[in-house]
Subunit: 240 residues, 2 copies
DNA sequence: GCCTTGAAGATTGTATACAAGCATTTTCCA
DNA sequence: TGGAAAATGCTTGTATACAATCTTCAAGGC
Protein backbone atom coordinates (compact mmCIF):
# COMPACT_ATOMS: atom_id res chain seq x y z
CA UNK A 1 0.00 0.00 0.00
CA UNK A 2 2.89 2.28 0.69
CA UNK A 3 4.34 1.54 -2.67
CA UNK A 4 1.46 2.95 -4.62
CA UNK A 5 1.58 6.24 -2.84
CA UNK A 6 5.33 6.50 -3.21
CA UNK A 7 5.16 5.69 -6.86
CA UNK A 8 2.53 8.31 -7.40
CA UNK A 9 4.53 10.86 -5.50
CA UNK A 10 7.27 10.80 -8.06
CA UNK A 11 5.27 10.20 -11.17
CA UNK A 12 6.98 11.54 -14.24
CA UNK A 13 10.53 11.05 -13.11
CA UNK A 14 11.07 7.67 -14.64
CA UNK A 15 9.90 5.76 -17.65
CA UNK A 16 9.23 2.43 -15.98
CA UNK A 17 10.07 0.64 -12.81
CA UNK A 18 13.45 -0.91 -13.33
CA UNK A 19 16.70 -1.09 -11.49
CA UNK A 20 19.09 1.65 -12.46
CA UNK A 21 22.64 2.48 -11.66
CA UNK A 22 23.92 5.25 -9.49
CA UNK A 23 24.59 7.65 -12.34
CA UNK A 24 21.33 6.97 -14.11
CA UNK A 25 19.38 7.82 -10.97
CA UNK A 26 21.39 10.99 -10.54
CA UNK A 27 20.71 11.91 -14.13
CA UNK A 28 16.98 11.34 -13.78
CA UNK A 29 16.73 13.42 -10.66
CA UNK A 30 18.93 16.16 -12.10
CA UNK A 31 16.74 16.45 -15.17
CA UNK A 32 13.57 16.44 -13.11
CA UNK A 33 14.94 19.27 -11.00
CA UNK A 34 16.31 21.36 -13.84
CA UNK A 35 13.11 20.88 -15.85
CA UNK A 36 11.04 22.02 -12.87
CA UNK A 37 9.14 18.77 -12.62
CA UNK A 38 10.39 18.76 -9.05
CA UNK A 39 9.97 22.26 -7.68
CA UNK A 40 12.00 23.87 -4.91
CA UNK A 41 10.69 22.85 -1.53
CA UNK A 42 9.51 19.44 -2.73
CA UNK A 43 10.43 16.73 -0.27
CA UNK A 44 12.40 13.71 -1.44
CA UNK A 45 11.72 10.80 0.92
CA UNK A 46 14.33 8.10 0.59
CA UNK A 47 11.82 5.27 0.66
CA UNK A 48 9.75 6.82 -2.09
CA UNK A 49 12.74 7.28 -4.34
CA UNK A 50 14.06 3.82 -3.55
CA UNK A 51 10.71 2.34 -4.48
CA UNK A 52 10.40 4.39 -7.63
CA UNK A 53 13.82 3.45 -8.92
CA UNK A 54 13.73 -0.11 -7.68
CA UNK A 55 16.86 0.12 -5.55
CA UNK A 56 17.55 0.35 -1.86
CA UNK A 57 17.97 3.50 0.16
CA UNK A 58 21.72 3.07 0.04
CA UNK A 59 22.01 4.25 -3.55
CA UNK A 60 19.39 6.93 -3.07
CA UNK A 61 21.33 8.40 -0.18
CA UNK A 62 24.47 8.51 -2.26
CA UNK A 63 22.69 10.33 -5.06
CA UNK A 64 21.04 12.74 -2.66
CA UNK A 65 24.37 13.54 -1.07
CA UNK A 66 25.84 14.33 -4.46
CA UNK A 67 22.92 16.59 -5.31
CA UNK A 68 23.30 18.24 -1.93
CA UNK A 69 26.97 18.99 -2.52
CA UNK A 70 25.93 20.59 -5.80
CA UNK A 71 23.41 22.65 -3.85
CA UNK A 72 20.44 21.35 -5.81
CA UNK A 73 19.10 19.51 -2.79
CA UNK A 74 19.12 20.53 0.85
CA UNK A 75 19.83 17.83 3.43
CA UNK A 76 18.76 18.44 7.00
CA UNK A 77 19.54 15.89 9.64
CA UNK A 78 16.60 13.72 10.60
CA UNK A 79 14.39 15.80 8.33
CA UNK A 80 15.34 14.38 4.98
CA UNK A 81 16.01 15.95 1.64
CA UNK A 82 14.17 18.55 -0.31
CA UNK A 83 14.79 20.51 -3.45
CA UNK A 84 16.75 23.62 -2.52
CA UNK A 85 14.96 26.96 -2.50
CA UNK A 86 17.72 29.47 -3.15
CA UNK A 87 17.44 32.65 -1.11
CA UNK A 88 17.45 36.00 -2.91
CA UNK A 89 20.97 36.48 -1.63
CA UNK A 90 22.11 33.20 -3.08
CA UNK A 91 20.36 34.03 -6.31
CA UNK A 92 22.23 37.31 -6.73
CA UNK A 93 25.40 35.51 -5.76
CA UNK A 94 24.92 32.97 -8.52
CA UNK A 95 24.27 35.62 -11.15
CA UNK A 96 27.29 37.64 -10.09
CA UNK A 97 29.40 34.51 -10.27
CA UNK A 98 28.05 33.63 -13.69
CA UNK A 99 28.63 37.07 -15.12
CA UNK A 100 32.19 37.00 -13.89
CA UNK A 101 32.98 33.45 -14.94
CA UNK A 102 31.21 33.39 -18.26
CA UNK A 103 32.52 36.81 -19.15
CA UNK A 104 36.07 35.74 -18.44
CA UNK A 105 35.76 32.40 -20.20
CA UNK A 106 34.33 33.98 -23.33
CA UNK A 107 37.77 35.34 -24.17
CA UNK A 108 39.12 31.85 -24.58
CA UNK A 109 35.90 30.60 -26.14
CA UNK A 110 36.20 33.11 -28.98
CA UNK A 111 39.82 32.15 -29.51
CA UNK A 112 39.23 28.43 -29.65
CA UNK A 113 35.80 28.00 -31.13
CA UNK A 114 35.61 25.68 -34.16
CA UNK A 115 32.96 25.17 -36.85
CA UNK A 116 31.99 21.92 -35.12
CA UNK A 117 31.35 23.83 -31.92
CA UNK A 118 29.17 26.32 -33.77
CA UNK A 119 27.25 23.50 -35.35
CA UNK A 120 26.67 21.81 -32.01
CA UNK A 121 25.48 25.07 -30.47
CA UNK A 122 23.19 25.75 -33.41
CA UNK A 123 21.69 22.32 -33.01
CA UNK A 124 20.96 22.84 -29.32
CA UNK A 125 19.45 26.26 -30.00
CA UNK A 126 17.31 24.68 -32.71
CA UNK A 127 16.06 21.95 -30.39
CA UNK A 128 15.43 24.62 -27.82
CA UNK A 129 13.09 26.47 -30.12
CA UNK A 130 11.04 23.42 -31.00
CA UNK A 131 11.03 21.79 -27.58
CA UNK A 132 8.29 21.81 -25.04
CA UNK A 133 8.69 24.36 -22.33
CA UNK A 134 10.02 21.87 -19.74
CA UNK A 135 12.75 20.55 -21.96
CA UNK A 136 13.60 24.03 -23.17
CA UNK A 137 14.88 24.87 -19.71
CA UNK A 138 17.19 21.90 -19.72
CA UNK A 139 18.37 22.64 -23.24
CA UNK A 140 19.08 26.22 -22.30
CA UNK A 141 21.30 24.96 -19.51
CA UNK A 142 23.01 22.62 -21.93
CA UNK A 143 23.60 25.48 -24.34
CA UNK A 144 25.48 27.51 -21.76
CA UNK A 145 27.41 24.48 -20.53
CA UNK A 146 28.40 23.45 -24.04
CA UNK A 147 29.43 26.98 -24.89
CA UNK A 148 31.71 27.35 -21.92
CA UNK A 149 33.20 23.91 -22.41
CA UNK A 150 34.84 25.34 -25.52
CA UNK A 151 37.20 27.30 -23.29
CA UNK A 152 38.80 23.96 -22.52
CA UNK A 153 39.08 24.43 -18.80
CA UNK A 154 37.50 21.43 -17.12
CA UNK A 155 37.72 22.80 -13.57
CA UNK A 156 35.90 26.01 -14.36
CA UNK A 157 33.43 24.32 -16.69
CA UNK A 158 32.36 22.02 -13.92
CA UNK A 159 31.95 24.82 -11.42
CA UNK A 160 30.01 26.78 -13.99
CA UNK A 161 27.75 23.82 -14.76
CA UNK A 162 26.70 23.79 -11.14
CA UNK A 163 25.95 27.49 -11.25
CA UNK A 164 23.85 26.95 -14.37
CA UNK A 165 21.84 24.19 -12.70
CA UNK A 166 21.26 26.39 -9.70
CA UNK A 167 20.02 29.13 -11.99
CA UNK A 168 17.22 26.83 -12.99
CA UNK A 169 16.20 26.53 -9.34
CA UNK A 170 16.32 30.29 -8.98
CA UNK A 171 14.03 30.76 -11.95
CA UNK A 172 11.66 28.16 -10.54
CA UNK A 173 11.31 30.17 -7.34
CA UNK A 174 11.52 33.76 -8.47
CA UNK A 175 10.66 33.65 -12.16
CA UNK A 176 7.62 35.80 -12.94
CA UNK A 177 6.61 35.14 -16.48
CA UNK A 178 7.47 31.58 -17.08
CA UNK A 179 10.38 32.40 -19.35
CA UNK A 180 13.82 30.95 -18.62
CA UNK A 181 16.21 32.10 -21.28
CA UNK A 182 13.84 33.89 -23.63
CA UNK A 183 15.42 32.15 -26.61
CA UNK A 184 18.06 34.75 -27.32
CA UNK A 185 20.66 32.13 -28.01
CA UNK A 186 20.48 32.26 -31.81
CA UNK A 187 21.54 35.91 -31.59
CA UNK A 188 24.66 34.87 -29.71
CA UNK A 189 25.49 32.30 -32.35
CA UNK A 190 25.40 35.01 -34.98
CA UNK A 191 27.84 37.07 -32.93
CA UNK A 192 30.09 34.07 -32.39
CA UNK A 193 30.24 33.55 -36.13
CA UNK A 194 31.35 37.15 -36.54
CA UNK A 195 34.07 36.49 -33.99
CA UNK A 196 34.33 39.92 -32.36
CA UNK A 197 34.99 39.52 -28.65
CA UNK A 198 33.62 42.80 -27.32
CA UNK A 199 30.04 42.53 -28.59
CA UNK A 200 29.91 38.91 -27.49
CA UNK A 201 30.89 39.81 -23.95
CA UNK A 202 28.42 42.66 -23.95
CA UNK A 203 25.68 40.35 -25.16
CA UNK A 204 26.40 37.77 -22.46
CA UNK A 205 26.48 40.37 -19.74
CA UNK A 206 23.13 41.75 -20.83
CA UNK A 207 21.72 38.29 -21.29
CA UNK A 208 22.47 37.31 -17.70
CA UNK A 209 21.55 40.68 -16.27
CA UNK A 210 18.30 40.55 -18.20
CA UNK A 211 17.36 37.20 -16.74
CA UNK A 212 18.20 38.40 -13.26
CA UNK A 213 16.20 41.58 -13.76
CA UNK A 214 13.17 39.55 -14.80
CA UNK A 215 13.03 37.89 -11.39
CA UNK A 216 10.77 38.92 -8.56
CA UNK A 217 12.40 38.67 -5.16
CA UNK A 218 9.59 40.26 -3.19
CA UNK A 219 7.36 37.19 -3.01
CA UNK A 220 9.06 34.57 -0.87
CA UNK A 221 11.10 34.77 2.30
CA UNK A 222 14.78 34.03 2.65
CA UNK A 223 15.45 30.98 4.70
CA UNK A 224 12.61 28.49 4.49
CA UNK A 225 11.28 26.71 1.43
CA UNK A 226 8.49 28.77 0.01
CA UNK A 227 5.39 26.67 0.40
CA UNK A 228 3.27 29.48 -0.98
CA UNK A 229 4.93 29.08 -4.31
CA UNK A 230 4.64 25.31 -4.14
CA UNK A 231 0.96 25.41 -3.38
CA UNK A 232 0.39 27.94 -6.12
CA UNK A 233 1.36 25.37 -8.69
CA UNK A 234 0.18 22.01 -7.45
CA UNK A 235 0.76 19.86 -4.43
CA UNK A 236 2.62 16.56 -4.69
CA UNK A 237 1.17 14.90 -1.63
CA UNK A 238 -2.37 13.59 -1.82
CA UNK A 239 -4.42 14.14 1.24
CA UNK A 240 -5.67 10.61 1.94
CA UNK B 1 44.98 -8.68 14.28
CA UNK B 2 43.72 -6.77 11.33
CA UNK B 3 43.02 -3.80 13.49
CA UNK B 4 46.61 -3.21 14.45
CA UNK B 5 47.77 -3.11 10.90
CA UNK B 6 44.97 -0.81 9.88
CA UNK B 7 45.64 1.50 12.74
CA UNK B 8 49.28 1.68 11.87
CA UNK B 9 48.45 2.35 8.25
CA UNK B 10 46.87 5.64 9.11
CA UNK B 11 49.03 6.71 11.99
CA UNK B 12 49.13 10.45 12.37
CA UNK B 13 45.70 11.19 11.09
CA UNK B 14 43.93 11.20 14.39
CA UNK B 15 44.72 12.04 17.96
CA UNK B 16 43.09 9.05 19.60
CA UNK B 17 40.63 6.35 18.79
CA UNK B 18 37.23 7.86 19.39
CA UNK B 19 33.98 8.10 17.53
CA UNK B 20 33.73 11.19 15.38
CA UNK B 21 31.07 12.74 13.30
CA UNK B 22 30.88 12.91 9.58
CA UNK B 23 32.32 16.40 9.30
CA UNK B 24 35.11 15.77 11.75
CA UNK B 25 36.28 12.77 9.76
CA UNK B 26 36.14 14.79 6.57
CA UNK B 27 38.16 17.52 8.21
CA UNK B 28 40.80 15.10 9.45
CA UNK B 29 41.23 13.50 6.08
CA UNK B 30 41.21 16.85 4.30
CA UNK B 31 43.99 18.16 6.50
CA UNK B 32 45.99 14.97 6.14
CA UNK B 33 45.76 15.26 2.37
CA UNK B 34 46.49 18.97 2.14
CA UNK B 35 49.40 18.64 4.55
CA UNK B 36 50.85 15.81 2.48
CA UNK B 37 50.66 13.30 5.31
CA UNK B 38 48.66 11.25 2.83
CA UNK B 39 50.42 11.44 -0.51
CA UNK B 40 48.83 11.07 -3.94
CA UNK B 41 48.46 7.43 -4.84
CA UNK B 42 47.98 6.30 -1.25
CA UNK B 43 45.19 3.80 -0.92
CA UNK B 44 42.36 4.45 1.52
CA UNK B 45 40.78 1.10 2.46
CA UNK B 46 37.37 1.57 3.98
CA UNK B 47 37.92 -0.95 6.75
CA UNK B 48 41.16 0.70 7.80
CA UNK B 49 39.59 4.13 8.00
CA UNK B 50 36.52 2.78 9.75
CA UNK B 51 38.74 1.14 12.34
CA UNK B 52 40.91 4.20 12.77
CA UNK B 53 38.00 6.56 13.33
CA UNK B 54 35.91 4.09 15.28
CA UNK B 55 32.90 4.20 12.97
CA UNK B 56 31.45 1.88 10.39
CA UNK B 57 32.16 1.89 6.68
CA UNK B 58 28.93 3.73 6.06
CA UNK B 59 30.28 7.06 7.26
CA UNK B 60 33.65 6.46 5.67
CA UNK B 61 32.04 5.88 2.31
CA UNK B 62 30.12 9.13 2.61
CA UNK B 63 33.25 11.06 3.42
CA UNK B 64 35.18 9.40 0.61
CA UNK B 65 32.44 10.25 -1.84
CA UNK B 66 32.58 13.87 -0.81
CA UNK B 67 36.34 13.97 -1.19
CA UNK B 68 35.95 12.29 -4.56
CA UNK B 69 33.51 14.94 -5.77
CA UNK B 70 36.09 17.52 -4.74
CA UNK B 71 38.66 15.59 -6.76
CA UNK B 72 40.94 15.04 -3.79
CA UNK B 73 40.25 11.31 -3.86
CA UNK B 74 39.76 9.00 -6.82
CA UNK B 75 37.10 6.33 -6.53
CA UNK B 76 37.28 3.35 -8.86
CA UNK B 77 34.60 0.72 -8.74
CA UNK B 78 35.63 -2.43 -6.91
CA UNK B 79 39.09 -1.00 -6.49
CA UNK B 80 38.56 1.40 -3.67
CA UNK B 81 39.73 4.93 -3.01
CA UNK B 82 43.11 6.53 -3.28
CA UNK B 83 44.45 10.02 -3.04
CA UNK B 84 44.19 11.59 -6.48
CA UNK B 85 47.36 12.03 -8.52
CA UNK B 86 46.58 14.97 -10.76
CA UNK B 87 47.88 14.59 -14.31
CA UNK B 88 50.08 17.34 -15.76
CA UNK B 89 47.09 18.38 -17.86
CA UNK B 90 44.88 18.70 -14.82
CA UNK B 91 47.62 20.58 -13.04
CA UNK B 92 47.88 23.20 -15.77
CA UNK B 93 44.10 23.35 -15.86
CA UNK B 94 43.95 24.15 -12.17
CA UNK B 95 46.55 26.89 -12.43
CA UNK B 96 44.84 28.47 -15.41
CA UNK B 97 41.57 28.39 -13.52
CA UNK B 98 43.15 29.92 -10.45
CA UNK B 99 44.83 32.71 -12.35
CA UNK B 100 41.55 33.57 -14.01
CA UNK B 101 39.38 33.30 -10.91
CA UNK B 102 41.69 34.89 -8.40
CA UNK B 103 42.61 37.64 -10.82
CA UNK B 104 38.98 38.47 -11.40
CA UNK B 105 38.01 38.27 -7.74
CA UNK B 106 40.84 40.55 -6.69
CA UNK B 107 38.96 43.50 -8.16
CA UNK B 108 36.20 43.07 -5.63
CA UNK B 109 38.61 42.09 -2.89
CA UNK B 110 40.42 45.41 -3.17
CA UNK B 111 37.12 47.28 -3.13
CA UNK B 112 35.74 45.55 -0.09
CA UNK B 113 38.74 44.73 2.07
CA UNK B 114 38.55 45.97 5.67
CA UNK B 115 41.16 46.44 8.39
CA UNK B 116 39.81 43.30 10.07
CA UNK B 117 40.45 41.35 6.90
CA UNK B 118 44.00 42.66 6.72
CA UNK B 119 44.57 41.71 10.30
CA UNK B 120 43.27 38.18 9.76
CA UNK B 121 45.48 37.77 6.71
CA UNK B 122 48.48 39.10 8.58
CA UNK B 123 47.85 36.61 11.33
CA UNK B 124 47.70 33.68 8.95
CA UNK B 125 50.87 34.83 7.19
CA UNK B 126 52.53 35.13 10.57
CA UNK B 127 51.52 31.61 11.62
CA UNK B 128 52.70 30.44 8.24
CA UNK B 129 56.17 31.74 8.85
CA UNK B 130 56.52 30.10 12.23
CA UNK B 131 54.77 26.84 11.42
CA UNK B 132 56.30 23.51 10.66
CA UNK B 133 56.56 22.70 7.00
CA UNK B 134 53.49 20.42 6.97
CA UNK B 135 51.21 22.96 8.54
CA UNK B 136 52.61 25.75 6.41
CA UNK B 137 51.06 24.13 3.35
CA UNK B 138 47.65 24.10 4.97
CA UNK B 139 48.05 27.66 6.20
CA UNK B 140 49.03 28.80 2.75
CA UNK B 141 45.82 27.29 1.41
CA UNK B 142 43.90 29.05 4.16
CA UNK B 143 45.53 32.33 3.28
CA UNK B 144 44.33 32.19 -0.29
CA UNK B 145 40.87 31.01 0.72
CA UNK B 146 40.51 33.73 3.32
CA UNK B 147 41.72 36.36 0.89
CA UNK B 148 39.22 35.43 -1.79
CA UNK B 149 36.37 35.14 0.68
CA UNK B 150 36.61 38.91 1.01
CA UNK B 151 35.08 39.23 -2.45
CA UNK B 152 31.86 38.09 -0.82
CA UNK B 153 30.85 35.61 -3.47
CA UNK B 154 30.16 32.29 -1.78
CA UNK B 155 29.71 30.30 -4.97
CA UNK B 156 33.04 31.29 -6.42
CA UNK B 157 34.82 31.08 -3.09
CA UNK B 158 33.75 27.50 -2.72
CA UNK B 159 34.86 26.57 -6.22
CA UNK B 160 38.14 28.31 -5.61
CA UNK B 161 38.68 26.53 -2.32
CA UNK B 162 38.53 23.24 -4.17
CA UNK B 163 41.08 24.49 -6.68
CA UNK B 164 43.36 25.53 -3.85
CA UNK B 165 43.11 22.11 -2.23
CA UNK B 166 43.91 20.45 -5.51
CA UNK B 167 46.95 22.67 -5.87
CA UNK B 168 48.32 21.04 -2.77
CA UNK B 169 48.00 17.65 -4.45
CA UNK B 170 49.73 18.99 -7.52
CA UNK B 171 52.64 20.26 -5.48
CA UNK B 172 52.85 16.91 -3.72
CA UNK B 173 53.29 15.14 -7.04
CA UNK B 174 55.27 17.58 -9.13
CA UNK B 175 56.93 19.87 -6.61
CA UNK B 176 60.71 19.82 -6.93
CA UNK B 177 62.19 21.77 -4.08
CA UNK B 178 59.86 21.14 -1.25
CA UNK B 179 58.50 24.67 -1.29
CA UNK B 180 54.77 25.22 -1.59
CA UNK B 181 54.13 28.94 -1.51
CA UNK B 182 57.59 30.28 -0.82
CA UNK B 183 56.21 32.60 1.82
CA UNK B 184 55.60 35.56 -0.42
CA UNK B 185 52.33 36.33 1.26
CA UNK B 186 53.58 39.19 3.47
CA UNK B 187 54.51 41.05 0.29
CA UNK B 188 50.94 40.79 -0.90
CA UNK B 189 49.66 42.16 2.38
CA UNK B 190 51.83 45.22 1.92
CA UNK B 191 50.35 45.76 -1.53
CA UNK B 192 46.83 45.28 -0.19
CA UNK B 193 47.47 47.96 2.39
CA UNK B 194 48.52 50.31 -0.39
CA UNK B 195 45.27 49.50 -2.15
CA UNK B 196 46.33 49.80 -5.79
CA UNK B 197 44.58 47.17 -7.87
CA UNK B 198 47.02 46.82 -10.77
CA UNK B 199 50.15 45.83 -8.83
CA UNK B 200 48.10 43.45 -6.72
CA UNK B 201 46.79 41.65 -9.76
CA UNK B 202 50.26 41.55 -11.24
CA UNK B 203 51.64 40.11 -8.04
CA UNK B 204 49.00 37.39 -7.88
CA UNK B 205 49.54 36.44 -11.49
CA UNK B 206 53.26 36.14 -10.97
CA UNK B 207 52.77 34.33 -7.69
CA UNK B 208 50.66 31.60 -9.30
CA UNK B 209 52.75 31.44 -12.44
CA UNK B 210 55.87 31.19 -10.30
CA UNK B 211 54.52 28.23 -8.39
CA UNK B 212 53.50 26.51 -11.60
CA UNK B 213 56.89 27.18 -13.14
CA UNK B 214 58.59 25.57 -10.17
CA UNK B 215 56.94 22.25 -10.92
CA UNK B 216 58.54 19.37 -12.76
CA UNK B 217 56.14 17.54 -15.03
CA UNK B 218 58.72 15.26 -16.61
CA UNK B 219 58.93 12.76 -13.79
CA UNK B 220 55.65 10.90 -13.50
CA UNK B 221 53.25 9.58 -16.09
CA UNK B 222 49.78 10.83 -16.73
CA UNK B 223 47.17 8.30 -15.80
CA UNK B 224 48.35 6.05 -13.01
CA UNK B 225 49.32 6.98 -9.48
CA UNK B 226 53.04 7.49 -9.33
CA UNK B 227 54.38 4.81 -7.06
CA UNK B 228 57.92 5.96 -7.77
CA UNK B 229 57.18 9.18 -5.98
CA UNK B 230 55.42 7.38 -3.16
CA UNK B 231 58.30 4.99 -2.60
CA UNK B 232 60.76 7.86 -2.72
CA UNK B 233 59.33 9.28 0.47
CA UNK B 234 58.23 6.38 2.63
CA UNK B 235 55.90 3.48 2.24
CA UNK B 236 52.70 3.21 4.25
CA UNK B 237 52.25 -0.53 3.94
CA UNK B 238 54.53 -2.77 5.92
CA UNK B 239 55.69 -5.83 4.09
CA UNK B 240 54.58 -8.57 6.49
C1' DG C 1 62.43 -19.79 -17.09
C1' DC C 2 58.30 -17.40 -18.38
C1' DC C 3 53.64 -17.12 -19.33
C1' DT C 4 49.00 -18.66 -18.68
C1' DT C 5 45.36 -20.46 -15.86
C1' DG C 6 43.02 -21.30 -11.71
C1' DA C 7 41.83 -20.81 -6.90
C1' DA C 8 42.02 -18.43 -2.41
C1' DG C 9 41.91 -14.14 -0.02
C1' DA C 10 40.67 -9.53 0.52
C1' DT C 11 37.95 -5.47 -0.60
C1' DT C 12 34.15 -3.16 -2.29
C1' DG C 13 28.83 -2.92 -3.73
C1' DT C 14 24.29 -3.38 -2.18
C1' DA C 15 20.59 -4.44 0.77
C1' DT C 16 18.51 -4.79 5.13
C1' DA C 17 17.87 -4.56 10.19
C1' DC C 18 17.68 -1.90 14.09
C1' DA C 19 18.16 2.48 16.68
C1' DA C 20 17.29 7.43 17.08
C1' DG C 21 14.82 11.58 16.20
C1' DC C 22 11.02 14.33 14.45
C1' DA C 23 6.04 15.14 13.21
C1' DT C 24 1.49 14.38 13.91
C1' DT C 25 -2.38 13.20 16.39
C1' DT C 26 -4.77 12.07 20.27
C1' DT C 27 -5.95 12.73 24.86
C1' DC C 28 -6.47 15.09 29.03
C1' DC C 29 -7.13 19.14 31.75
C1' DA C 30 -8.39 23.86 32.46
C1' DT D 1 -13.66 24.66 23.48
C1' DG D 2 -8.75 25.67 23.41
C1' DG D 3 -4.21 24.52 24.69
C1' DA D 4 -0.59 21.59 26.27
C1' DA D 5 1.54 17.19 26.93
C1' DA D 6 2.25 12.53 25.77
C1' DA D 7 2.18 8.71 22.70
C1' DT D 8 2.23 6.72 18.22
C1' DG D 9 3.85 6.43 13.60
C1' DC D 10 6.96 7.68 10.10
C1' DT D 11 11.50 9.05 8.42
C1' DT D 12 16.19 9.15 8.75
C1' DG D 13 21.06 7.61 10.87
C1' DT D 14 24.12 3.93 11.54
C1' DA D 15 25.86 -0.59 11.53
C1' DT D 16 26.25 -5.06 9.74
C1' DA D 17 25.55 -9.13 6.66
C1' DC D 18 25.99 -11.09 2.32
C1' DA D 19 27.08 -11.06 -2.63
C1' DA D 20 30.04 -9.58 -6.41
C1' DT D 21 34.44 -8.37 -8.06
C1' DC D 22 39.23 -7.67 -8.09
C1' DT D 23 43.92 -8.96 -6.68
C1' DT D 24 47.28 -12.08 -5.42
C1' DC D 25 49.58 -16.28 -5.27
C1' DA D 26 50.47 -20.80 -6.73
C1' DA D 27 50.63 -24.57 -9.96
C1' DG D 28 51.00 -26.35 -14.42
C1' DG D 29 52.15 -26.18 -19.27
C1' DC D 30 54.92 -24.35 -23.14
Amino acid sequence: MNDTRQFHLLAGIMTERDTRSDDAIYQSLWEAIVEHRLSPGARLPEDALAGAFGVSRTMIRRVLQRLALEQLVTLRTHRGAQITSPTPGEARDVFRARRLLEGALLTEVVERITPEDLQALTQIAEQERHARREQAIRLSARFHARLMAIAGNASLSEALSQLISRTSLIIAVYGRHRAGCPCEHPDLIALLEAGELAPIQTWMHQHLTGIEASLDFTASGDALPDFEHLFGHHREQNAS
